[in-house]
Symmetry: C2
Subunit: 119 residues, 2 copies
């Protein structure tokens, strides 16, 4: 392994160690699921498109209860997250969903490993 390759591997590892990874567990008003999901999708896709430090969102709903939503969120670091919550698209999302969300639990996690098929 060349010195340059070694540096690159270590650098990638350091990048990943700094990442902020989290679950947001959201109970949505069952009568407003479609509106909530539309607002969430707009927020997610905009953030990943325009913010360099917003890396990944997966939003899923329990099959047995689609009003129970979990979002896996990955930011480059905590600074990227702090910048994210000040953006117009995030603030618009928060205002839009304020009467749709019954509860919100945030759980900080560490990424152990990921494996994703190339597209």
């Amino acid at each position: 392994m060349s010195a340059a390759t070694l540096f690159s591997v270590e650098n990638a590892f350091a990048q990943q160690k700094k990442q902020m990874v989290r679950f947001a567990k959201i109970q949505v008003d069952p009568s407003q699921i479609e509106q909530y999901n539309a607002a969430l999708k707009e927020q997610m896709t905009t953030a990943v498109r325009v913010e360099p430090g917003v890396l990944t969102y997966y939003a899923v709903a329990d099959k047995n209860d689609p009003s129970r939503i979990t979002i896996l969120e990955i930011y480059a670091d905590t600074s990227a997250y702090k910048a994210h919550i000040e953006t117009p698209h995030f603030k618009k999302y928060k205002v839009t969903v304020q009467n749709m969300v019954k509860s919100l639990e945030l759980v900080d996690v560490d990424l152990i490993s990921k494996a994703v098929k190339p597209n």
Copy 2:
């Protein structure tokens, strides 16, 4: 939008509707976390590399309790999952971790939306 593009978009949507998406919530023996994580990583990376229908794994651990692990799993469809659990690498994983896993809860979910930054 051309007819070919329209078909491609509809086809992608149909593919996604068939996907099997799930959380596996695992309580690991706190004295065997490193061994468990190594076995999990080997299983995940092998499955995504060699099985056409194993699409995505993200494994995370609670920051407050690294023995509490959650895996987001995405398979192309239920047939891909059924084939997966018959593979040698999956069976090897199950045998390796049988005395490391204290409990396992499987939660079926539907993907609402995802947004992932291109590498």
